[in-house]
């Protein structure tokens, strides 16, 4: 592998891994938020979660 290939692979690979990590983190926190919400919200209460 040349230095050029290594540079492109490092840049694109790192960004891909970081992007996937962020999306996974976002999904995990969305799930955690849903779990921590009170079981029954009264009608008309402010929406406090990610709309599906």
């Amino acid at each position: 592998m040349s230095y050029v290939d290594a540079g492109y692979a490092a840049a694109l690979g790192t960004m891909l891994v970081y992007a996937v990590t962020l999306v996974v983190r976002r999904r995990r926190w969305e799930r955690a938020l849903k779990m921590s919400e009170p079981a029954a919200e009264p009608d008309g209460a402010p929406v406090r979660g990610e709309p599906s």
Partner: protein
């Protein structure tokens, strides 16, 4: 200052930015690796310059600017909002990734051109210091504290990180460095790159900027969700505590068994 954490809807424009970023990045790689000619002096190694300067620009100016601007706007009482604090924190994390990539891609270019992976050159050292400061900021952010206390100390820390940004920028002017001066423009605004090479470089700046905006947007959503979960858990704990207190009051107020005389 406290405020209820409201999780906003996922903005549609962020998906558009992400798709545009991927397309622009694809074109940059295609042009950079296959279409542009080799450089007269550096040969194929010049192809790394379609990545490294753009990544460094994002790390230094875009991420550094958002982090410093967001922190200043948080510290300024008239504009104080957790939006700015979360935006600054997101920018520092994304900026740290780009700072690390700046060092890695620069090193991969420096080894064959300079003959060394690393040298204690002013530009390299100040960029490494930037990465260390960003990691320090992220460590500070993980220290448990009230949201506003955390926001204030992180804003101050981000401004300290920002002090390094002009040092990195002017390091090639202030000191004799191995690192060259302006890659595209010199101080007299004379272009050093032309033709398809210039267009590819321009596209690389657009592509990495779009990717940065997308990463920043998603990282911001993570930050909001983290705070919302913390807020929710606090509310549950408080309501449980209030429930316990109410039970204690009712016990003390008349249901005390065997005439024990009250509750603690």
């Amino acid at each position: 200052m406290t405020e209820q954490v409201i999780v906003p809807r996922r903005p549609r424009w962020l998906d558009v930015v992400g798709i545009l970023g991927i397309v622009a990045l694809g074109f940059t790689v295609w042009l950079g690796l296959w279409i542009t000619p080799p450089d007269v002096v550096q040969g194929n190694l010049a192809r790394l310059l379609y990545v490294h300067p753009a990544v460094a620009t994002v790390a230094l100016y875009w991420a550094g600017g958002v982090a410093a601007g967001g922190s200043l706007l948080y510290l300024w009482p008239r504009t104080r909002s957790f939006f700015w604090d979360r935006l600054a924190a997101s920018a520092v994390e994304v900026g740290a990734v780009f700072s690390a990539l700046t060092l890695v891609t620069g090193s991969l270019w420096g080894r064959p051109v300079w003959g060394v992976w690393w040298t204690w050159d002013a530009r390299l050292t100040s960029t490494a210091l930037l990465l260390l400061l960003e990691i320090g900021y992220l460590a500070l952010r993980r220290v448990p504290a009230d949201l506003d206390v955390r926001a204030k100390r992180c804003a101050v820390a981000a401004l300290l990180v920002a002090v390094d940004v002009p040092i990195v920028h002017f390091s090639v002017d202030w000191w004799n460095t191995l690192h060259q001066g302006g890659t595209i423009l010199d101080p007299g605004f004379d272009l050093h790159v032309h033709g398809i090479m210039l267009w590819t470089m321009g596209l690389s700046f657009v592509a990495f900027t779009l990717v940065f905006v997308w990463l920043l947007g998603v990282r911001y959503q993570v930050e909001v969700l983290q705070d919302a979960v913390g807020d929710q858990e606090l509310e549950v704990s408080l309501s449980e505590r209030w429930g316990e207190d109410a039970d204690l009051v009712s016990v003390a107020g008349g249901r005390a068994p065997h005439g024990s005389g009250g509750a603690a």
